[in-house]
Symmetry: C2
Subunit: 250 residues, 2 copies
């Protein structure tokens, strides 16, 4: 009796953005494990046990998943977006590396999903259409000095940027510090985008000049994108503006 | 009679990675426009005209799509992967910005897809599980000096990296130069991954130490990922190794 462990990405929210592979995995699993708001998106059915857990217990959750798969269960670990981008895949592999050798022999796979930054970029136009970088602004698991260094070097490289976890109730001041740093080194007109709850009924999109950005424009559900020096805005009469980064630099 | 233009992402190859939204767009379109190998993935049916075109004519293709939508057609522009990552979305918006004002009033949307780097990362483990950057190594549309500067700064920031378009027949030497630069500044053991044709029958995966990497490990269909200093490899008895970047930096 050999179990399986699939680490799956539910995409940003809408059913229309869940891949068929992920849908199949949900339909054949015996156990779904994840952070409460993510497992809340899994459709209940007989034969499926749903194990919700709190934030910041990623490693315990990973171990629980590995133990259940070791017992022969068919387990899905669910993340929002893509499981490989600031989500559960790294936590599971950290547990595998530090766990019993038998966990290495389990049938483990990662099923990608539409990650928040690409869903947000699509709704805004194509702000990530050229070279870009992706930074987790949470300093839960890394020192703030690393975030600051990466922001400075990314500005020097003129990458467009995507920021995950800009702000939470536990860390209200981090995004303000990041914004101040960006404002100190970028031109005033640099475009910054706030895409909240993309593809859900609560979706909201806001594009402003960096000098007009304020910390309260982001919350836990917001993806923040910063344009490069090349990024452009196309205004429209009857619709939201389009933001895009051109393909060429000459 | 108002037309629509949807810029859609077909994902890396497998049908199991095409979102329902993209599938619906393909089923209701009157015209599908794209690079030959991408439109070859669109299922033919009556009522759908397929317009294939060659590489490097992205702007002409974008204009054709906008003109057809302006005539009231329901047009999809198809890209592999995600249309917003080194693909057709930026080309279409470049055409919109420089075209007649009426094009700004068209109903244009971008439907995201599973981009190659995230499909590759999922097959390898979770190498992009921490901060990373994404660089197009083609110097068709930007000077090589920009690529070099970005590589240097990204190494200094210790980002994991994803490289699109590492090598083509027209530019055989670019990837060699990039590899030499990476080797000159990274430790020998740094992990580099070559993921070719992910999710297709031709898929192949290779992970080596940077000092063992050679230019011929990449071709046009290869996604190259470079680990950060933190990236780790878990070897397994009966399966490919797992590569992942931990969530923590302390």
């Amino acid at each position: 009796m050999s179990g399986t462990l699939k680490i799956i990405g539910l995409g940003p929210g809408s059913a229309g953005l869940i891949t068929p592979d992920v849908k199949d995995a949900l339909e054949t699993a015996t156990d779904a494990i994840g952070y409460f708001p993510y497992v809340a998106r899994v459709i209940e059915r007989s034969g499926l046990t749903i194990h919700g857990s709190d934030n910041r217990v990623e490693l315990q959750r990973a171990k629980q998943a590995l133990e259940l798969a070791g017992e022969g269960r068919h387990v899905v670990v669910v993340s929002s977006g893509d499981p490989g981008v600031f989500a559960m895949a790294s936590a599971v592999f950290e547990a595998v590396e530090n766990g019993p050798l038998s966990w290495r022999e389990l049938d483990i796979s990662v099923l990608p999903g539409i990650t928040a930054m690409l869903a947000a970029a699509a709704r805004l136009g194509a702000p990530l259409g050229h070279d870009f970088c992706v930074i987790n602004l949470s300093d839960n698991l890394k020192p703030w000095s690393i975030i600051e260094t990466r922001l400075r070097l990314a500005m020097e490289a003129d990458f467009a940027m995507a920021f995950y976890n800009p702000r939470s109730k536990a860390r209200p001041e981090g995004f303000e510090k990041a914004l101040d740093l960006l404002k100190s080194a970028c031109e005033k007109e640099r475009l910054i985008m706030f895409a909240r709850a993309v593809s859900t009924p609560e979706e909201s999109l806001l594009t402003v000049a960096l000098s007009d950005a304020t910390p309260d424009m982001a919350d836990m559900r917001t993806m923040v994108l910063l344009g490069s020096r090349q990024t452009r805005l196309i205004s429209r009469e009857n619709a939201a503006p389009i933001v895009y980064t051109p393909r060429s630099m000459r």
